[in-house]
Every structure is written in C-alpha cells, then in structure tokens.
C-alpha cells in the first residue's frame, strides 16, 4: 500500500543520505522517476557527501601522536585532572568562589534535604550559558514544541516551558546538560533589557514533602530553588530577590497547574 502523502524535501534529503525509512522509499523513488529536478538534487547531495569524504578521509591515515595514545590508557588513580583547563583563571576563580560561598550553607541545607550540589551546579550553568551571546541555547523558541517533547523524552519526566510574558520575560530556548550523572534541563528566558533567567530541573530521588522556596545569592546570581515529588528546580538570574521571587511564583504556579491538569 503506497503512502498517501507526497514526499517532502526532508524525505528527499533523508533518501540521499541513505536514512529514509524503507516504507517511504517507494514514494520517493516514484517522485525521482518523474521529476528530473528532484533526481538531480538527490544526486547533488550524494556527490557533495562523496567529495567531503574524499577530502577528509585522508586524515584517518595519519599516525596518532604519542600523547593521544597515552590518553587512551587508563589514567593513574591519584591524578584527577579537571576537564576544563586550569589555565583559564577566571573559570577557576568562579569555581572557587562558588565553593567558598556555598560552604556555610551546606550543613544547613543537607539537613533539610536539598541537594546543594544541584543548586551550585545550576548557578554555574546559569553563568556559563546566560553570558553566551552566540549560542546560549541549542534549540530556539521557534521550535518550542519540539523542545518540550525532546526534553520530556530525555528527562523521563513531563517538561513544561512556563509562559513568563506576564512578568516581561520571553523564552529564548533550551538545552540539555548531560555532563553530570543525571541530565539537567535548562530553559532560558530574556526580557527587553536583555536580562536572562534560567530555569533548570533534574530528577530528584528522595521523597520530600518540603516544597518551600529556598533562596541563595552567589557572585550576583540569585537563585530560588525547590523540590516537588519528582524534580529539583532552580530559577537563576541577576535580578534582585523580590523580582526573582515574583517570577518564581509564576513558574511554580504554572508547573503546579500543569501537574493538576494531567491528573
């Protein structure tokens, strides 16, 4: 039974790359048989792929340098080199600043069941990506539906992108942080003054009835964070406490409403 939908340009592209699902191939081949321009387009893509491989495959034959062969061996147990370059002094300072700033709070927060390392990581990630002018997010707001679906699938928990227009913030987009053991979702918002907020969340193991907002500030970054039954959330930004709290309330309210709507 042939498909009733006409092949799209993306189908043609997938076909050219040898990645089209077999059941779609018949429909594409029918188009290629009757439309010379499409056939030429597929041939063009394949030729371009071939030319790129021809140009870049020669590098595969180069002998690997000694230092990379050494890196392919298990490292000595005693050295735990940080994966970012210590030579970037500002990065090191930032990490030290966060470590020192959070020290006093750790004992208190541990007793109350909030994973301090998550809040610290959220602050670090906020600074890292909110200051990135060119690629602060991987998926932009114009693909919001796809973004939410993707985050939901990767996180294993329903994602929501709160609408913060009522408090002056528009969605910029999102990304997934997978450098740590558990993935963390990150959504970024921006207001007309180009101030940025990030909302991050990650799955949270422990059972907690406590949902009170906790507030922290580090190096000019304010953070409100809380836990619900599934996730730990952190809302970060360089706003003053009252402004950030207003936004946090909107976020919390929308997430809670979405939760109720699902039941």
């Amino acid at each position: 039974m042939t498909s009733m939908t006409d092949p799209t340009d993306l189908d043609l592209m997938a076909y050219a790359d040898g990645q089209l699902a077999p059941e779609r191939a018949a429909a594409v081949e029918a188009v290629l048989a009757r439309d010379a321009q499409s056939a030429a387009r597929v041939a063009e893509i394949r030729e371009q792929n071939r030319l790129l491989r021809e140009g870049l495959d020669t590098w595969l034959a180069e002998p690997s340098p000694e230092r990379l062969l050494a890196a392919a061996a298990a490292p000595a147990e005693s050295t735990a080199a940080p994966w970012w370059r210590p030579a970037l002094a500002m990065a090191a300072t930032l990490v030290m600043g966060l470590a020192l700033g959070w020290f006093g709070r750790e004992a208190l927060l541990d007793r109350q069941g909030m994973p301090t390392s998550f809040a610290r990581q959220a602050a670090f990630a906020h600074v890292l990506y909110a200051t990135d002018q060119r690629r602060p997010v991987e998926v932009w707001a114009n693909e919001e539906k796809g973004l939410v679906t993707w985050l939901t699938r990767r996180m294993g928990v329903q994602a929501h992108a709160p609408d913060l227009n009522s408090v002056g913030f528009a969605l910029v987009g999102g990304r997934l942080l997978s450098g740590h053991e558990k993935p963390t979702a990150l959504l970024m918002y921006e207001n007309p003054e180009k101030q940025r907020l990030t909302l991050q969340w990650r799955k949270h193991d422990r059972d907690a009835n406590e949902t009170a907002f906790r507030y922290a500030i580090e190096d000019g970054v304010s953070i409100f964070y809380w836990i619900d039954h599934e996730c730990a959330y952190a809302l970060s930004g360089s706003l003053d406490r009252a402004q950030l709290l207003a936004v946090a309330r909107v976020v919390y309210g929308q997430l809670a409403a979405a939760e109720v709507a699902r039941k």
Partner: protein
C-alpha cells in the same frame, strides 16, 4: 600514562576519527589534538556512563562535543571584554588545511571554503552526516538536540551551500 597501563584498543581505534572531527570543530590541528586529549581524559572519568554494547564511537563524539561546548562557553566568558574578529555570518573564522595533492582539486577546495562559511551549528551537522556518516538519531545524541533540529539544520546547511556555489558559477554540478 601510569605504569603498566596499556592504551585501550577501542579508544586507540577511535582516535583518527576523533582527531578529524576535532579539527573541524576547532579549525586548527594542535587545538584539535588538545580537544581529543581532554575528551579521552573525560571519557575515562565518565566511563560508567557508557553502556557496553552501544556505539562507543557515538558516545566518544558526544563526550567530545560536551567538552568542546563547555570550553567554548568558558572561553567566551573570559574574552567578554575583548573585541572578537567575526566574519559577517557571525561565526568564527574557520579554515581547514587541505593536503597539497588535493589543492589541485579546485572543486574540493571551493567546497571546503564554502563549508567554512557555514554557521558552526550547520557545519557540525553536515560533517557528522556526510563525512562520519552518522544516522540522524546518532547525531541528535551527539549534539544533544532533537532529531527534527538535526534535519532542519542539515537542510539549511545544504541550501546555503547551494547559494554559495551558485554565486560565481550558476547551474547544477555535472553528475558523474
């Protein structure tokens, strides 16, 4: 290298491909090898995250992409107060060295020059699809983006290459 530790054969086998992709990410050979070295170190740290039986190459590319993205973001923070020399497209200037024997291939040189003018996010997807021949789903995992975004970036990359190619010499390339 610690005493007695031999290089892991599967990692050694992956080094040439990692170096090649690292060169397209960084645009320069020494920084590329630095990136591969950092990637291998991180892979050892995070080796428990790799599920045995799944594609090791794809996982290593994912690790490398994470390392690269974070290093780039940190570097931009440090360079915030320094004016950066961008080309008009808003991306870094990207050049890729071609071996002398291939400089005679004008077609290849032109194509690589045009690839260099793509926005970085389009170039990365194009090279993973065309040169590494990764499936769209694998690319999505490596770059941590939805599959739909992989396909739309790939489509835009090829459209842009068409426009760049049609500039000086319009018409379709002859099919061999």
């Amino acid at each position: 290298m610690s005493d007695g530790a031999l290089p892991h054969p599967d990692l050694v086998a992956a080094i040439p491909r990692l170096r090649r992709y690292a060169r397209t990410l960084t645009g320069e050979a020494t920084r590329a090898d630095d990136l591969v070295q950092d990637t291998l170190a991180r892979a050892w740290e995070k080796r428990r995250l790799w599920r045995s039986g799944t594609d090791l190459r794809a996982w290593l590319f994912t690790v490398m992409h994470n390392v690269f993205v974070n290093q780039r973001a940190l570097a931009r923070r440090d360079a915030r107060n320094v004016s950066l020399d961008d080309d008009a497209a808003g991306g870094e200037v990207w050049q890729i060295a071609v071996r002398p024997a291939q400089q005679a291939r004008v077609e290849l040189a032109e194509l690589l020059e045009q690839v260099g003018r793509l926005p970085a996010e389009q170039r990365e997807v194009l090279l993973l699809a065309a040169v590494e021949e990764m499936k769209y789903e694998e690319i999505a995992v490596v770059l941590d983006i939805p599959v739909g975004t992989v396909m739309s970036r790939l489509s835009r990359a090829r459209e842009k290459l068409r426009r760049l190619a049609d500039g000086p010499s319009p018409g379709l390339r002859a099919v061999k």
